[in-house]
């Protein structure tokens, strides 16, 4: 199933042509360099680099806004109080409500870091197929158990979500309703129904896993892979130079923050 995150992997930008492995290393390093930014003067540069990279990726703005929706509300909920409760230097005061300079700085820094990191994460995941990104992680040392778990879970995630929705609809059609008032007895019986619902989902997924394992076994899963001569894809000038540029930009941010 093609999920929202894989919707624009077919585009043909420079970022899409960048091989997943150097892209993961280059942009991953930049993400951690952004996480280290503590100096407010670096924020415009951080936002500028993010905007340039997103433009190069040619991903639509609607994609970014859609992905920003939920986490954006969460982060605003967390940091909106900061200017009111954090710091000592008062910028503005109205009765007992006071805006503090340190709190405002912390809020701006957190929101901008969050926006830049989330955007870079979207560029990594939105410009390569999910399986190619996992393969790149595997080549960088991700243990095979984790790689297999990620791929298998991703394969069944949306299927189980759909199964759960169907089961919940079936419950409603049979007359099971969520309690509308705060009565302990009703709440407990609803909790028991939800536990049975989830238990049924777990049993179905367990039975599906047995069938999947048999099918995977027939296709050679668990057997030693046949030895084949290493065939690394040809390295292009773009792949290498883009990685070097990203590492230099990351180093620039880290050093500027220290100085």
């Amino acid at each position: 199933m093609l999920h929202e995150i894989d919707r624009y992997v077919h585009l043909n930008s420079w970022m899409h042509r960048w091989r997943p492995r150097p892209k993961l290393v280059g942009l991953g390093t930049l993400i951690f360099a952004f996480a280290m930014v503590e100096d407010l003067r670096l924020v415009p540069a951080m936002l500028g680099v993010t905007a340039v990279l997103y433009t190069i990726a040619t991903l639509p703005l609607s994609f970014l806004l859609h992905q920003l929706r939920y986490p954006g509300f969460f982060i605003l909920g967390v940091v909106l109080l900061l200017p009111l409760v954090s710091g000592e230097t008062i910028l503005w005061q109205w009765g007992p409500i006071a805006l503090h300079s340190e709190g405002v700085s912390a809020m701006v820094l957190i929101v901008c870091r969050f926006f830049s990191i989330l955007t870079l994460g979207l560029i990594i995941l939105g410009t390569s197929p999910f399986s190619a990104t996992i393969k790149a992680m595997r080549s960088l040392g991700l243990p095979h158990v984790l790689a297999d778990m990620m791929l298998l879970s991703y394969r069944y995630l949306f299927e189980f979500a759909q199964m759960l929705t169907t089961m919940q609809q079936a419950m409603k059609l049979r007359g099971f309703k969520a309690p509308s008032r705060l009565a302990l007895r009703e709440l407990m019986s609803h909790l028991r129904r939800l536990a049975s619902l989830m238990g049924t989902l777990l049993i179905r997924s367990y039975e599906q896993s047995l069938r999947s394992y048999q099918a995977m076994g027939l296709r050679g899963y668990g057997a030693a892979a046949p030895h084949s001569p290493g065939q690394s894809p040809p390295s292009s000038l773009w792949n290498g130079s883009a990685l070097i540029v990203m590492l230099m930009v990351s180093a620039g941010f880290v050093l500027s923050d220290f100085l």
């Binding site: 920003l68 000592e88 969520a178 668990g222």
Partner: protein, 212 residues
């Protein structure tokens, strides 16, 4: 109960990744010791996907509703696969819903995964009781559920309150942490009951899902 990107200083994120690396190594070593490790991977993966899907279940608590955390139940059912499952689940949550983040994946895995491991350990203690009655299964899975969400809440609020604000008053920090933790008391109780009901259901209907 996930920390978003940009909230924590880089050193905390890196420390989170270091702890997660150690716990993943420990879990993978436990998995390798099993004779059925290849067979178990699809089971653990599909159960992880099912837990992830089930995290969308909302429990109505009039006038609102709440989502269950389920890390205690995950620890009970997945045993040594619990920590890798938490890591995979959090990666998908960051990817699909934007909950959590890539830089905070390590610290979020500690917040959710360490309590899952503790829940798994608590549930295993039922072996000390001879006969392992259904009542013992209920009680130990209840304790696993309570401790799972309780420890997660403690770790989450301690980190957010001590690491995020620039210059917050120390006594205000302590009060806020205490108030937020106490407000999670009903959720801990609910989570414990739900875990106990879920594990009892599985023990009756499909006992092989629950690890020995």
């Amino acid at each position: 109960m996930h920390i978003s990107d940009g909230l924590l200083p880089a050193k905390v994120c890196i420390t989170g990744y270091a702890i997660t690396g150690g716990l993943t190594w420990y879990s993978l070593r436990q998995i390798d010791r099993r004779s059925t490790s290849t067979e178990d991977i699809p089971k653990a993966s599909l159960l992880t996907a099912a837990f992830f899907a089930a995290s969308a279940i909302r429990f109505p608590l009039p006038p609102g509703s709440l989502h269950l955390v389920l890390n205690g139940a995950l620890g009970v059912v997945l045993d040594c696969y619990a920590f890798p499952a938490v890591l995979v689940g959090l990666f998908f949550q960051a990817l699909v819903f934007g909950h959590g983040g890539l830089t905070t994946l390590g610290i979020n895995a500690v917040i959710m995964g360490v309590p899952a491991l503790l829940a798994s350990f608590i549930f295993k203690l039922r072996r000390l009781i001879k006969g392992q009655s259904s009542r013992a299964t209920f009680v130990f899975s209840f304790l696993a559920g309570v401790s799972g969400v309780g420890l997660s809440a403690l770790l989450f609020f301690s980190l957010v309150i001590t690491m995020v604000p620039a210059e917050l008053d120390a006594s205000l920090e302590q009060t806020a942490a205490l108030v937020l933790l106490l407000s999670h008391g009903p959720l801990m109780l609910l989570e414990g009951l739900f875990t106990a009901m879920l594990v009892s259901f599985l023990a009756r209907m499909k006992p092989e899902v629950i690890p020995e």
